[in-house]
């Protein structure tokens, strides 16, 4: 039967038909208008500060047009491909990317650093990466039709992930006190960013496959009922990886992100709060150990507890960020009008990577910050909705994990900016400067869009596991 073999091959049945995506178009129009307004406000502020004359023109119209055109093309591509994917994700991401682009326009262009960066300027490099990101999102959304390659090779994915991690451990270069960057020739990137996506893919596959085991069984250790071995083993591995990241890479944010995503996915898969509690206990133990053992952790935590104790030394960044928020107040100072430079230097160091929220907080005020947090919530909500209406466990867990990766990362860095948790060096998704971050988050959103397609073929029937490993596990916990 031709239909049966086609289904077995995992291909879509039926011809491709372009479909109108009205909601996406409407939202994109709003996004475009907002970005134009923002750009004009920035340009006008610049003009007034320079010579007092009012000139209502966007700052660098060329970049704005290129960016909006890219968003339009992405929309058009999805329309032509006729996929029934989520219509809110692309506009939300587009808006965040646009705000990030405006921020990079506003900051001094010399912050880019490398020789390549200096020729294009901060905004130019960011635009380049944004274009690449939009392309990645669109390609993934259109081309990815089956998830077999994701669900079947989970151990391969795990191996690739560990490999990337080891690569960064060994070849990592230091930037801002964290060993994150790997340089191959002229190109430098942060492999840890991609690692989080791979981790989610692996976890989704693993947890969905072992879900019944994890829910029903538990290991007996004497009189205690602990979570079962298939949970404890990967949890300890995750904990070790996180600890390793803290120790070797000195990247607190990534470690926290990985562990938090793992715990959240475990909870969603099993609905057993006990697992989360065990995990949290391990986290606290690890945190205390890290604090006692490592100087760099101690510095961050002490600065978090009282940055005003050393406002011109260790606490300088955090104090200046808080002062920036305070200067913003409710309405902000206006794009381009804040961040007073003393002696030509911006008050907050590493503002384009670590503290974009502080800059936006000052210039857009509490109203603007709340709006930006709202947009992140929107992305999370769409991801969770895709998870809730997913056809099977693997897709649900994958979608949850992807949504978490963006949401929890945004939370961690925003909380660090606001002194709610110690500052970490991770980026604010889609807004911070940095190609690796944009690329990794683009993969996340692209996969989410692919998962959200309502017309794609249903998942394969649940496979009876034949593997020896699985039989071993079953026997050990039965």
């Amino acid at each position: 039967m031709t239909t049966a073999s086609a289904v077995r091959a995992g291909l879509r049945v039926g011809p491709i038909r372009p479909r109108f995506r009205r909601r996406e178009l409407g939202l994109l129009v709003v996004v475009g208008l907002a970005l134009v307004a923002g750009s004009v406000s920035l340009g006008a502020t610049r003009a007034v500060l320079a010579d007092g004359t009012l000139v209502l023109a966007p700052v660098d119209p060329f970049r704005l047009i290129v960016y909006l055109a890219a968003l339009g093309c992405a929309h058009l591509a999805q329309v032509l491909a006729g996929r029934r994917t989520d219509q809110v994700l692309l506009p939300a991401v587009g808006l965040l990317g646009g705000i990030g682009l405006l921020l990079m326009e506003r900051l001094p262009q010399g912050l880019a650093g490398s020789a390549f960066g200096n020729s294009l300027g901060l905004a130019g490099v960011q635009l380049l990466w944004l274009l690449i990101a939009i392309t990645v999102i669109t390609v993934l959304a259109i081309v990815v039709r089956s998830d077999t390659w994701l669900r079947r090779y989970k151990y391969t994915w795990a191996a690739v992930g560990i490999g990337l991690l080891l690569l960064t451990f060994v070849f990592g270069e230091e930037a801002n006190g964290a060993l994150l960057t790997v340089r191959i020739g002229p190109v430098s990137g942060q492999p840890t960013e991609l690692l989080k996506v791979i981790l989610v893919i692996f976890l989704a596959g693993y947890l969905s496959e072992f879900r019944p085991l994890l829910v029903e069984e538990s290991t007996r250790l004497g009189p205690l009922r602990l979570p079962p071995l298939p949970y404890i083993l990967p949890m300890l591995v995750m904990w070790a990886i996180a600890f390793g990241i803290v120790v070797i890479q000195r990247d607190l944010g990534a470690a926290l992100l990985f562990f938090a995503v793992f715990l959240a996915l475990a909870y969603v898969a099993t609905a057993r709060a006990g697992y989360v509690i065990v995990g949290l206990v391990l986290l606290v133990i690890g945190a205390i150990a890290a604090y006692q053992l490592f100087g760099h952790v101690r510095i961050r935590v002490d600065v978090w507890r009282d940055p005003f104790a050393d406002p011109s030394g260790a606490g300088y960044q955090v104090v200046q960020a808080l002062i920036a928020f305070a200067r913003g107040g409710l309405l902000g100072t206006g794009l381009g009008a804040g961040l007073p430079a003393v002696g030509g230097r911006l008050p907050i160091p590493a503002i384009h990577t670590d503290f974009p929220l502080a800059a936006l907080g000052e210039e857009l005020g509490l109203i603007g910050v709340t709006a930006i947090l709202g947009i992140y919530l929107v992305i999370i909500e769409r991801g969770l909705r895709i998870a809730a209406s997913a056809a099977d466990d693997f897709r649900a867990l994958l979608a949850t994990g992807l949504a978490l990766v963006v949401g929890v990362q945004a939370f961690i860095i925003a909380a660090g900016n606001l002194k709610l948790i110690p500052l970490t060096g991770i980026t604010l998704p889609f807004i911070s400067y940095g190609g690796s971050s944009l690329l990794a988050n683009a993969v996340v959103v692209g996969l989410l869009l692919a998962l959200s397609d309502r017309g794609v073929e249903p998942p394969p029937p649940p496979r009876r596991s034949h593997g020896r490993f699985d039989r071993l596990l079953r026997r050990s916990v039965a």
Binding site: E216, Y267, I323, G329, P340, L384, P462
Partner: protein
């Protein structure tokens, strides 16, 4: 309980529920973030903006014409001039107010009131939140405010003149309102030279290298052994706690006048024996002749805990809340186990008459006099009485700080202090302090220092004693006995003030 759901062997709960719960957790987390942002951007906004390390202040300070600072009679204490490039710089007409008003210099930042009220003088912080909002919409969003001080330039100048070449300090305040009328610290310095960009470097270097430390505002930052003026604090503690009454006499006191009072092997000595012979003194006479032994015994009677806690009521033990930064005066270094932080009874006995480990700032001692003068009610000291700008004016009025002792006790101390200035024996210790024609109250002090330096000369007092309008504390470093320098300065300044207000 197993559910029947498609998608594999059924498990206990569907994933959907976990997703929803996760969603709620994330929603709450982001709400917490928004609240956190609100906290820093709205709640703590006022006290973060206006910190000296706020770059906005630093950047704005360069080009804003700062507000004018005036004294109580309208004399200008600080104003701005424009230099050749049209950029403003500060000018201070009188050297005498330098420790109080400070300076605002492009190179060296700010000091004194120029620093404490930087945000108001540059206009970064407008008087009211609505104004703050509206100011965003105007081109000149910074509206500097002028300060009016309670200081009297005339008194300040005279105080500095009288202190002369000595290092020392004078603090005068109105005990009824807490307004500071004079706060002199010598040596002063030329703040204009520091503010002027042409002479800034040289002037700052010479002032910093001056061994007499002109930058130190001795009135609020200098801690000195108080000597006998501290006996008023002991009086407050002893009479206030009821350890003694004004009629208390000690049998041990007269014999100890000759050979000294033995306290745990330490001898407390005294110097008024020729005047009082073997009379047992009551409270008022003990104050009049400044009897160390009487007060040592009183201190032991009162106990360390009471002495420390009553002294704290009048301001000891913590920095005094004031327009300028102050340091805390102390009754003891603390850490001892005797009671109140004293290490033993010897230290307590010595502290009770103002030696031991007691240290006081001139402002603190002026507050002691003010508390007694104002019937036991201590008013909060303040310098700035009015902030005025393009958007209106704010007045800062008197504020009650504490009720230190009851009016009856204050009256007793008041009477004793009057005897110390006007009594037969008293006037020998406070020569020059009396204001002619006006009942004057006071106490002098000769603070012995370790080593060979001359003792500090102190005087605290108020006038007129029956209706006090001015309280004063004078300190002359190593000025000799209390009579030598401090008392006459105090008398002349009080007289000058009372004459100026028509008494």
């Amino acid at each position: 309980m197993t559910g029947r759901r498609g998608g594999g062997p059924p498990v206990a709960t569907p994933i959907g529920r976990g997703v929803v719960r996760l969603g709620i957790v994330l929603l709450v987390s982001f709400a917490v973030l928004a609240a956190g942002a609100g906290y820093w951007q709205v709640v703590r906004s006022a006290d973060l903006v206006g910190r000296p390390d706020d770059p906005l202040l630093i950047a704005a300070a360069r080009n804003v014409v700062r507000g004018v600072i005036r004294d109580r009679d309208g004399h200008v204490l600080a104003t701005s001039k424009k230099d050749a490039n049209g950029e403003p710089y500060r000018v201070y007409p009188s050297r005498s107010v330098a420790p109080v008003v400070g300076y605002a210099s492009r190179l060296y930042g700010t000091a004194g009131l120029e620093r404490a009220y930087d945000a108001e003088l540059t206009g970064i912080r407008p008087p009211d939140p609505i104004d703050e909002l509206l100011a965003k919409f105007s081109a000149n969003r910074y509206r500097p405010q002028d300060l009016t001080l309670s200081l009297s330039l005339d008194l300040q100048r005279e105080a500095v003149r009288l202190l002369g070449a000595n290092r020392g300090s004078v603090v005068m305040l109105d005990p009824r309102s807490g307004e500071v009328l004079a706060m002199a610290s010598t040596p002063t310095y030329d703040a204009s030279a520091i503010a002027n960009p042409d002479t800034a470097k040289a002037a700052f270097a010479s002032v910093s290298n001056d061994p007499d430390k002109p930058f130190l505002d001795r009135a609020v930052q200098g801690r000195y052994v108080p000597g006998s003026v501290f006996k008023i604090v002991t009086s407050i503690a002893a009479l206030g706690s009821g350890a003694i009454t004004p009629a208390t006499r000690y049998a041990r006191q007269p014999p100890a006048e000759k050979n000294g009072l033995l306290v745990s092997g330490y001898r407390v000595r005294d110097g008024h024996h020729p005047f009082t012979g073997s009379r047992q003194l009551a409270y008022a006479e003990a104050v009049e002749v400044s009897c160390n032994i009487y007060f040592a015994l009183t201190g032991l009677e009162t106990g360390g805990d009471a002495l420390t806690s009553w002294a704290a009521k009048v301001g000891f033990g913590a920095p005094i809340p004031f327009d300028l930064p102050t340091v805390a005066s102390q009754v003891t270094n603390g850490g001892g186990s005797y009671g109140g932080g004293f290490s033993d009874d010897v230290e307590l006995a010595n502290a009770a008459y103002g030696q031991g480990e007691t240290l006081a700032t001139p402002l603190q001692m002026a507050l002691v006099a003010a508390a007694v003068a104002n019937r036991g009610t201590l008013m909060k000291p303040h310098l700035v009485t009015r902030l005025s700008g393009a958007d209106g004016a704010t007045t800062i009025g008197p504020e009650v700080w504490r009720q230190v002792v009851s009016p009856d006790v204050a009256a007793e101390i008041n009477a004793a202090m009057v005897r110390a200035v006007e009594g037969q024996e008293g006037r020998l210790f406070t020569a020059g302090a009396k204001v002619p024609g006006v009942p004057t109250a006071g106490k002098s002090g000769t603070a012995q220092l370790t080593g060979s330096a001359a003792p500090h000369s102190w005087f605290i007092g108020f006038a007129p004693a029956n209706d006090p309008q001015i309280a004063i504390a004078v300190l002359v470093e190593s000025g000799g006995s209390g009579t030598t320098r401090a008392s006459p300065i105090a008398g002349r300044l009080m007289a000058r003030y009372l004459a100026s207000v028509g008494k």
